[in-house]
Amino acid sequence: MRGLLRSHLARSLSMLVLVGVIGACAQPTGSSPGSGQAAKPAVNILNVSYDPTRELYQDFNKAFAQYWKQKESQDVTVRQSHGGSGAQARAVIDGLEADVVTLALGYDVDALNIQGKLVPDDWEKRLQSNSAPYTSTIVFLVRKGNPKNIKDWDDLVKPGVAVITPNPKTSGGARWNYLAAWGYALRKNGGDEAKAKEFVTQLFKNVPVLDSGARGSTTTFVERGQGDVLLSWENEAFLAINDLGPDKFELVVPSISILAEPSVAVVDKVVDKRGTRTVAEAYLQYLYTEEGQRIAAKHYYRPRIETVAAEYKDRFPQIALFTLAEVFGDWRQTQKTHFDDGGTFDQIYQPDR
């Protein structure tokens, strides 16, 4: 049922994208591919992604279709599907035929490997920069004028400050929030894990509402007026400020945060079955080109390529970032320690305090 619904959604989305593509192709380009050469049959691939990337991939898919038409003289339609990162991964495991996945965190791609061997063990090493073509980070969104005077992580554990974050068990973004706070506390206390746990526990005691996803938390904070500060993806925070009111919210950049690396991967089992490996690989590679990086930067994802990063320097606040690997190791270990049943997050809510 879910799959059906999803594929229906994907189909209607793809129709939208298709219309866009046709529109783009209809423009006289001048450099039409050699007309003597037989056109390859049109191909379509499905990109299964997480919530906030919707607008990014709408733009990117158009650009890629144009690029592919010019290079291979083949029409390509990229269908998109969006939802919570974990739920999306599960849909793929359960049989949603995604040629590529572009998810919020490495663990969700790991799940494709652990649960169904849909991708190989070393998927992360197949593309540059840990298979994360663009990055983001975790910042604070506060109400205009910053009435609670929130400047850094320490302000989040003060009594009377209400913090909005989604549930790390269900939301990819929330896991980055959690790890950013943990990493900050570790640094501050010279690597003392117990102190870090105490800090994060204090922080979550200030959380009045735990939504299941990042968009839900943004709504709770922005529309419902709950809480004093929202822990948010940088790109979501910019979106909230731009779309919902620059006169209502302010961005606060903490002294240090985590380098969030949303992972992408070709789903081997699917592309081998559908014979779409070439185009799927090219699609992900295109994310690493200057054009792809510019589109990412336009949508407030931090580009990896130096030249593009320099172009968009003013767009992103300066902030010291630590990586997951530096502080926590890999995702499997992190998931086990912090987010699996009985992990540090569950311990926060153990009743015997």
Binding site: A87, S212, F339
Partner: protein, 273 residues
């Protein structure tokens, strides 16, 4: 054979066979799949999963809020049904149609709308907030959502019975010297009780499984406002299919027992008449 003779219409065998297959495909096979999945845990892990403090807190939240919501619906559903059957007023048809809306509305929409109204800056929530009542993001919010989605059940089960109830019976009771209260409590109410119980059971069962509307308004705090269906979804997000099935089995068994008890109560109240 005996069963067959009871009916004057032919086709018992065919109808019975179809019913069994139909119910198996739709209900029994999925449910046994669920139980089978849960058994892959082994007894110890099954027991640990279903008796974890968070799970127990979630059962409490789910069952108490569902019970309260079903009770509210039983009382006010009776009132609504009474008004709709016994009085004529302009716009009655419209009001009658309104009752079914909670059935038609996608529950997520209901949840978002109710949260909008009852959060501390919402139209209703702001006044409740002023008198110190936190409605959205508290157990009360859950009760509100569950009451909303369960509204049609009691109204729709009581309405036809009430329509069939002869006004003459009441008049007879009155003319034999019964007070108004006696007429209601000893003549009308016992007749309606089985229907009210059915509506209550339906509303209660519906509330137990409700997910869509509650997750928006509940706040979803572990140990406080986390409902069992959310805990199940959380387990699924962690690819813990067996753990999710285990919690679902508990819900199934408890719901089944409670519905059975309500059914027996209903039988008893019918027999008493």
């Amino acid at each position: 054979m005996i069963l067959k003779q009871r009916s004057i219409l032919p086709g018992f065998g065919l109808a019975m066979g179809f019913t069994l297959v139909y119910l198996s495909l739709l209900v029994l096979i999925p449910l046994s799949g669920l139980v089978l999945k849960a058994t892959t845990l082994g007894f110890d892990r099954f027991w640990d999963t279903i008796t974890a403090p968070r799970a127990i807190a979630a059962y409490q939240v789910t069952f108490t809020t569902s019970l309260i919501a079903a009770t509210i619906n039983a009382v006010f559903g009776l009132l609504v049904a009474w008004v709709l059957v016994r009085y004529t007023f302009p716009g009655k048809r419209l009001v009658d149609g309104l009752v079914d809306l909670p059935f038609a509305l996608p529950t997520a929409v209901a949840g978002i709308t109710l949260t909008f109204l009852y959060s501390s800056n919402g139209w209703i929530g702001r006044y409740l907030d002023q008198v110190g009542i936190k409605s959205a993001f508290s157990p009360l919010g859950i009760v509100i959502a569950l009451t909303f989605i369960g509204l049609p059940f009691v109204v729709r089960t009581v309405q036809p019975v009430l329509e069939d109830l002869d006004v003459e019976t009441e008049e007879a009771a009155m003319s034999l010297g019964a007070t108004r209260w006696q007429t209601f409590s000893r003549v009308i109410f016992p007749t309606l009780l089985p229907a009210i119980l059915t509506g209550f059971a339906l509303a209660f069962a519906r509330a137990l499984g409700e997910y869509g509307s509650v997750v928006f308004i509940a706040g979803n705090m572990p140990m406080q406002t986390e409902i069992v269906p959310l805990l199940i979804v959380t387990k699924l997000e962690q690819f813990d299919y067996a753990g999710a099935a285990a919690l679902a089995v508990v819900m199934l068994v408890v719901s089944f027992v409670m519905l059975l008890v309500i059914n027996l109560l209903q039988r008893w109240s019918e027999a008493k008449q």
